[in-house]
């Protein structure tokens, strides 16, 4: 009896969904090809030690997604909608960073400004984009998906305009560390950046009222206003926070190839970020959220992507497989299906008692 309680509590815990998905994927890979889990130590072309293997790749590429999932979770919780302009905003922020680093010459031999300055400018650009979305959603009460559609459409053109449509290429070893490896440390840097973001957001949620306020606005806007909150400002704030997350992800993205291609950088990443939130078991119509589950969801999605790449699935078909996951999630979380499932569970329970 007690065991059953623990089990049911586990099932009803939100983080169970991404863990279950992770277990299924792990099991699948174990059966299909155990070499998936092999991690080897090697040296990169500059002679520094690096770990390599599929799991490391997941840590590497999943991290930028995890960072985005943090911001997306807050936006979803507060506004009950999603920001679909994330990929375009990454292009804007990345373009702004490169513009600062390159100055007027698109192919400088040395950096024209410290990386931190470039990052702050990129941050500013992304936060402005976030603020723009936030104002439309919070003060003009436009549906988030429609409001962010504007930047989704225009963002990449703005990004191209920032650099006069030139193709900046940076030749600086220091700049590649953010998307690669810091010399002497064999774990990919994006993972550390993601961990820093996670620590910060965990502290913020623990020591400030942000989490509580976000959830209450998401659950019931008018009653939270009656309780003295300012729902519009909180919604606005979540979009700006997402802007910061976007800037961090943009830094990783442009650092990976030391360049940018406006039309394709971070293409469709918003869908993965939203999927991470959904996979974390969070309601996409706002309200309560579980940050840890979202972050885990992001890594699970990268796990899925990497698995599909390993199986040599055509990369333009990847989104079809992800769509299947979305369908399963959405159907399972639909109220009518949940009711049926729980009534089915109740029917089964007495029987199992009798058997016992």
């Amino acid at each position: 009896m007690k065991k059953e309680n623990v089990f049911s509590r586990l099932i009803h815990n939100q983080i169970f969904i991404p863990i279950a998905a992770l277990l299924i994927l792990t099991l699948f890979n174990l059966i299909a090809d155990p070499s998936f889990f092999k991690i080897s130590m090697g040296y990169n072309s500059t002679g520094d030690p690096v770990l390599s293997g599929y799991l490391i790749t997941i840590l590497d590429y999943g991290s930028e997604l995890a960072i985005l999932a943090i911001g997306m979770t807050l936006v979803t919780a507060a506004s009950g909608g999603q920001d679909i302009s994330v990929g375009a905003t990454i292009a804007v922020a990345g373009s702004a960073m490169l513009r600062v680093l390159c100055g007027t010459n698109s192919r400088p031999d040395e950096l024209q400004a410290p990386i931190i300055v470039a990052f702050l400018v990129g941050c500013l650009a992304a936060m402005l984009c976030g603020a723009f979305n936030g104002v439309l959603v919070a003060y003009f009460k436009i549906q988030p998906m429609i409001a962010t559609l504007i930047l989704f459409t225009a963002g990449r053109s703005i990004a191209a305009w920032i650099n006069n449509n030139e193709l900046p290429v940076i030749n600086d070893v220091g700049f590649t560390y953010f998307g690669g490896f810091i010399p002497g440390i064999p774990i990919p840097t994006p993972f550390f950046i993601a961990v820093i973001c996670m620590i910060i957001i965990a502290l913020v949620l623990k020591f400030t009222t942000l989490g509580l306020y976000t959830q209450s606005v998401g659950i019931n806007e008018s009653s939270s206003r009656l309780n003295g909150l300012n729902p519009a400002f909180i919604k606005f704030l979540t979009f700006v926070i997402l802007g910061v997350c976007v800037a961090v992800a943009a830094l990783i993205k442009v650092s990976r190839i030391s360049s940018i291609n406006y039309s394709v950088i971070a293409k469709d990443i918003e869908m993965d970020a939203i999927l991470a939130v959904a996979l974390g078991g969070n309601s996409l119509s706002g309200g309560k959220f579980n940050m840890a589950a979202s972050i885990l969801g992001a890594y699970v999605i990268q796990f899925l992507t990497t698995t599909l790449y390993k199986l040599n699935v055509q990369s333009d078909a990847l989104s079809a497989y992800k769509a299947v996951v979305v369908i399963i999630l959405v159907v399972l979380s639909a109220p009518s299906v949940r009711e049926k499932l729980s009534s089915l569970g109740k029917k089964l329970k007495p029987q199992s008692k009798e058997v016992a």
Partner: protein, 340 residues
């Protein structure tokens, strides 16, 4: 009520947007027309300049287009005996409007790089009736051949063939190729993939390790190559269908300490001849870059000269020479001349 107001606001914003766009284009073509008029006025006396109307895609579309536009502007100058007007658009209907404008202005030649293949018959017929000769460059259209004098295009299959022939001439014992494709179905992808696919099917020592589309995207290419490296499969050639994807692939190689370039473990091949890519060749980090020639102006010039001298154009479709650069023979001069 609120909703209605909002709907009204958005609707009016959209309309404004439309008006603004419309205004822009008319202003543009208006400007072009005005410029042409002004020039015509200034040179009215001389009369021996050849009037050309050039309709191109937006030069900001890509590095290729920027180079293409620059080439056109350098060729069709008064010093070379031309009086040129330019119109740019990525939209077919705007291009057609510009063409009608040029016909009214009475240009001698209409040079066209069409945004879309369809819809050109009637306006080209008008041009023919007005005695204007049409020359297509870079892109072909679905119209009767009699409507234009010549069409100057790239042959993507030939680009692929040149690259594959070069690769074959390297004389490796075994070719294990990572084939990174462009957006599936695009002309460049079809042409550049076709030659390699044929060769792999024909030769027993040519194998495809993986064949994936990275959709011209450097990051996707990096992930694809990363996945092959993680799997531990060995390979010695990266055949990327453009420079961006080759760059992404090289980033993955660098991470795993796999040497690439001249005399190294992996041969890296790209296309398009971006300047930065040719610099990589010069430094010996890549092995081959195939050209997609944006310099059509000299070909057009030649055709116009021929027509003016009363000669006939025997070939309607003219395929440009396109080079392939080998890292062991490329020079700084090549980089400066052919880099885009």
């Amino acid at each position: 009520m609120k909703r209605k107001v909002l709907a009204l606001l958005t609707a009016s914003m959209m309309v404004f947007g439309l008006v603004a766009c419309g205004g822009d284009t008319t202003a543009d073509s208006g400007n072009a027309g005005a410029q042409a008029d002004a020039q015509a006025g200034a040179d009215g006396g001389s009369g021996d300049l050849i009037k050309v109307g050039i309709i191109n895609n937006d030069p900001n579309e890509s590095g290729y287009r920027t180079a293409n536009d620059k080439d056109m502007k350098e060729m069709f100058t008064e010093e070379n005996g031309y009086e040129a007007s330019f119109a740019y658009s990525l939209k077919n209907d705007e291009q057609i409007t510009a063409a009608q404008k040029f016909i009214q202005d009475g240009v001698d030649y209409l040079l066209l790089s069409a945004a879309d293949t369809a819809g050109w018959d009637s306006v080209l017929q008008d041009a023919q009736d007005a005695g204007i000769r049409v020359i297509l460059f870079d892109r072909t259209i679905d119209a009767d051949e009699s409507l234009y004098e010549a069409s100057i295009v790239s042959d993507m299959s030939k680009e692929g063939q040149t690259a594959v022939d070069w690769l074959a001439s390297q004389g490796l014992d075994e070719y294990n190729v990572i084939h990174i494709q462009g957006v599936m179905g695009s002309a460049a992808q079809k042409g550049r993939s076709g030659a390699l696919d044929e060769k792999v099917a024909a030769e027993s020592n040519w194998n495809i390790v993986t064949q994936q589309t990275a959709e011209w995207n450097a990051e996707k290419a990096q992930q694809i190559v990363q996945s092959v490296i993680d799997s531990g499969t060995s390979f010695n050639v990266i055949y990327a269908e453009n420079d961006d994807m080759a760059k992404g692939a090289v980033a993955a190689l660098d991470k795993a300490n796999i040497s690439h370039g001249v005399g190294k473990d992996v041969i890296v091949m790209g296309f398009d001849c971006n300047k930065w890519a040719l610099e990589e060749l010069l430094a010996g980090n890549w092995n081959y870059d195939g050209q997609c020639n944006p310099f059509q102006a000299s070909y057009i010039d030649e055709i116009i000269k021929k027509i003016e001298n009363g000669e006939t154009i025997s070939e309607k479709t003219i395929i440009m020479d396109e080079k392939g650069f080998d890292a062991s023979t490329i020079t700084q001069e090549d980089v400066d001349t052919y880099g885009i």
